[in-house]
């Protein structure tokens, strides 16, 4: 304790004290014929100071200061090292966060583990009557549907823009328990023309004004009331980083909806499958589908997490794609590291003299090593910082950017059914809705404001 106080209060003039003392000693020794030699003063100082210092902290601090000084004298080296490190780390981090976002993001719903995706007749899309049948059967706690293959025309007062919309069932927000940033979820009691805005859409077009809730917006020539605004952390059921502009509980009677169901508490997947099989058999009798039997290709797959990834067919190519991307990013990082290492090597060889001088002045090898490590550490930390910033930029842009890649010009031509063009256009824009069997293209025609939602045509 006493030592600590002494150390804290006496250290200010330690160096000048010792200097004066040694000078006095030398003077006396010289005056008296130098009977007692002192030896290496630098080492004496170092030894004497070591006792009075908080060595570890102060050494590290001094090393860092020294590193900053010596690095700032070779800005070219620092710049190239930082750029390669930053790029290497940034690419990796960005890739990784995008891959995680794509493959592992959990949808923003209450208790995502209890939700399953249901495939009937080899498709997870069905008409709303089917959904109603499933809901009425009472097998599941809740059944919701959504249809992604949409764009809708939004008139902002000056221009009309096609925006990315998702049509859902009335119980969608309440049933899923989607958290909202502002407003309320719509319910069965609401009219059809209500809308929930995505955070991005709201920020871009309503400047983040919470009073947007309750306002009207013009979609497909009809006035929709904004009832809710989704939080920035909203993740869709589909995942893959997709982010629609608006959700609305409004669809045509024959629209095909993706079927999602919440298992009752305690219900296992196998139980759900068994129950679903008998339900499908009943449906084949009571409401036969002329094209395909409901029982064929019947599947009940978990919605969230790894369990979903294992089930979904589109996962393998996407996973492989990301694996290759990550490997490439790792290679880039490796090259960056080699680059920096060789830069450091070159630097080290030019510093031989400096190090030799310091060794001969009595610096211990460990101290020198510490100092060089401090330099590398500084470089690494700065590089990681740059990489992190870079990754944030890329990843943030990625998350917010997904939007409809079809511009207004889309009305002037008919895309071919395979839509390689649309794919290409999307790749530049980040992924939107173009994955797997969801890639079917749908275009909203610039119809006159028609009462009712009956003016969407599929091409």
């Amino acid at each position: 304790m006493r030592r600590l106080f002494l150390k804290l209060f006496r250290r200010r003039n330690l160096a000048s004290d010792l200097d004066a003392e040694l000078a006095f000693h030398n003077e006396m020794a010289a005056a008296n014929g130098n009977p007692v030699r002192l030896g290496n003063e630098a080492v004496i100082k170092e030894n004497a100071f070591d006792l009075w210092r908080f060595n570890l902290i102060e050494n590290v601090w001094r090393d860092l200061v020294y590193a900053v000084r010596s690095l700032s004298r070779s800005p070219g080296f620092v710049l190239s090292a930082l750029l390669s490190l930053g790029l290497g780390i940034g690419v990796n981090t960005a890739m990784f966060s995008i891959a995680v976002e794509f493959l592992l993001s959990e949808p923003s719903v209450a208790d995502a583990q209890s939700w399953v995706s249901i495939y009937l007749g080899d498709s997870n899309h069905a008409k709303s009557t089917v959904l109603q049948f499933l809901r009425d059967s009472g097998v599941f706690q809740d059944v919701v549907g959504e249809n992604w293959e949409n764009s809708i025309n939004w008139n902002d007062g000056h221009d009309t823009h096609p925006i990315f919309s998702v049509q859902t069932t009335k119980n969608y927000l309440t049933g899923l328990g989607v958290p909202l940033a502002y407003g309320r979820p719509w319910t069965e009691k609401d009219p059809n023309n209500v809308v929930a805005l995505s955070y991005r859409f709201w920020r871009q077009n309503f400047h983040g004004d919470p009073s947007a809730v309750g306002r009207f917006i013009n979609l497909d020539g009809r006035a929709y009331t904004v009832v809710g605004i989704l939080p920035p952390s909203h993740r869709t059921l589909i995942g893959y980083g997709l982010s629609p502009d608006v959700y609305l509980p409004n669809y045509l009677p024959d629209t095909l909806l993706e079927i999602y169901a919440r298992l009752r508490p305690g219900m296992s997947l196998d139980q759900a499958r068994t129950a679903m099989r008998s339900l499908a058999e009943r449906m084949d009798q009571e409401m036969p589908n002329p094209d395909v039997k409901f029982v064929t290709g019947l599947r009940v797959t978990p919605l969230a997490g790894l369990a979903r990834l294992k089930q979904e067919q589109s996962t393998t190519p996407i996973g492989l794609f990301f694996l290759i991307l990550l490997m490439l990013a790792c290679l880039v990082f490796l090259i960056a590291c080699v680059n920096v290492a060789s830069l450091l090597l070159v630097r080290a060889s030019t510093r031989r003299q400096e190090i030799a001088v310091r060794l001969s002045l009595g610096a211990s090898r460990v101290r020198l090593l510490q100092q060089l490590l401090a330099e590398s550490l500084l470089l690494a930390v700065l590089g990681a910082g740059i990489g992190f910033g870079f990754a944030q930029l890329v990843a943030a842009d990625f998350r917010l950017a997904p939007r409809l890649a079809v511009g207004p010009g889309v009305f002037d031509f008919e895309p071919a059914s395979g839509t390689p063009y649309a794919y290409a256009a999307r790749l530049g824009d980040g992924p939107d809705r173009g994955f797997g069997d969801r890639a079917r293209h749908r275009v909203t025609l610039p119809a006159e404001p028609v009462p009712g939602p009956s003016h969407q045509s599929r091409i």
């Binding site: 004066a20 009977p35 007692v36 002192l38 030894n47 070591d50 570890l56």
Partner: protein, 110 residues
């Protein structure tokens, strides 16, 4: 945090010699070295570079205290004086030393 090194035999001896020299009154570093040198009939020489680290360590341990004063030739010098704690330490070390030297003598006498 730095701790003063545990006195080895040599260092312990140096500490003992310094404390003993300081019993005669306060002295500056050069005088301590001279004193030890002369008292040992020029046999002992305070090891190069170990005097001041030892002084700083003793000061940190509270065995001696330092203050600035004027030397005989009117120069600013740092004077060291032994403290009560230092005296106690010296007694202990003297005891250890005499036991050690007697033991070494015994061994060498046979």
């Amino acid at each position: 945090m730095a701790k003063s090194a545990k006195p080895t035999l040599l260092q312990g001896t140096l500490d003992l010699l310094i404390l003993h020299a300081l019993q005669r009154g306060e002295m500056h570093g050069y005088a301590i070295a001279q004193c030890i040198h002369l008292l040992s009939e020029e046999e002992l020489r305070v090891e190069e570079g170990s005097l001041y680290p030892a002084l700083y360590r003793l000061e940190l341990d509270g065995a001696i205290k330092a203050k600035w004063g004027l030397s005989e030739n009117n120069r600013k010098a740092k004077y060291y004086a032994i403290t009560a704690r230092g005296r106690k330490l010296m007694e202990q070390q003297q005891e250890t030393w005499s036991r050690l030297s007697v033991a070494v003598d015994r061994v060498l006498a046979r």
